[in-house]
Subunit: 215 residues, 2 copies
């Protein structure tokens, strides 16, 4: 086997991210950057968390997508305020576009802001959006080698949500392998196993999130 | 719902891609760029195709990964020549790094070259590697909204492999929706439904690929 080395992504938006975080702090809004592969179940996870957090917290969502408004429509249908970012091809959100989107939010009616990033385990890793917490979502159907193959996104996340645990009997996914790999890269990260459609594991995750938000 | 527009990825490697294609043509090698989300089943699909094509074609693989050599080891274990590209953070292969990797191949013993791209439904869309054919892999567990949400990668592909059809009974994935969306974006694309682990649909796909390769 031969190995050829290529190039490196550069980061340059940290200052704007700090400004976003300062704005969120001043407004008493806790911001969560949600990353994961296409189809890992990010939007379905949010839907399940919103049902569980109803009456306890006032959430809002910034939706990042290459194209279309499918996810934003799902969030809007729940009565949760949403701003759609159309990246027009870009594979990740950055702090600048999040700043523009956040201008569309009514901070007075929000405590918890989810920023659902573009479905991507790579590009999203390098860009601080000004969030307080980054959640990485990995579904059981994606395979249990993903922490090893895409280390940056896992290493920089403060929580791992293993989703679609209802598919575990039908896959060769080993949650113990993923958990061990994650603990090696990010020893302090929280790890949740959830099946958002059935609600399994969602109450615990919602309680944990609620505990993060200062009222 | 508010919509904020962001930026666009630029492409700049088309000339090198043409040089790669000319080299492949001169060597009588048919090159296939395989794209798809992390965990969509790209490597497992290749393993299944190699088993089916044994004795008929002489394959080789260029493996693109952010980090690690897990996939390359799987290919090497089958006795198929493989060159690993480590992108060190980059979310896609480009023609230049493929040119470097292809220098490590023995063209005289190859007819069919798979270039397994980094797991990514976005960045990989914009970069011609010099292939003759691009296959996009989408697993049933990723959801049937992906063609609408990530149109560029599907539009520019000449074949769609719907993988993990063995999980269909356990998901809400509608193959007819994906097929209709794909036919709208890429009317001439071939569409295969496969379960690589059980081998379902693999013989037909292998025959189709073999037909593409001029001996």
């Amino acid at each position: 086997m031969k190995i050829v080395a290529a190039k490196k992504i550069l980061k340059a938006n940290d200052q704007i991210a700090e400004e976003n975080r300062a704005k969120f702090n001043a407004a008493g809004v806790f911001a969560v950057n949600v990353v994961g592969s296409p189809g890992s179940g990010k939007t379905t996870l949010l839907e399940a968390l919103f049902a569980q957090l109803k009456g306890r917290l006032r959430p809002a969502v910034i939706e990042g997508d290459i194209a279309g408004v499918i996810d934003a429509q799902r969030i809007e249908a729940l009565g949760v305020p949403v701003v759609q970012i159309s990246t027009q091809g870009a594979c990740h959100l950055d702090a600048l576009v999040v700043a523009a989107a956040a201008d569309g939010l009514d901070y007075d009616s929000i405590d918890l802001l989810f920023i659902e990033n573009v479905g991507n385990l790579v590009c999203t890793a390098g860009f601080d959006l000004g969030e307080h917490l980054r959640i990485v979502v990995l579904s059981t159907s994606e395979g249990d080698d993903k922490v090893v193959k895409y280390p940056a996104i896992f290493q920089g996340s403060q929580a791992l949500f293993i989703t679609k645990t209802d598919l575990l009997p039908h896959t060769n996914f080993d949650p113990q392998r993923i958990t061990a790999d994650m603990k090696r890269l990010a020893p302090d990260a929280e790890i949740f196993q959830v099946a958002a459609l059935s609600g399994e594991g969602i109450p615990q995750a919602a309680d944990w999130l609620a505990g993060k938000v200062k009222r």
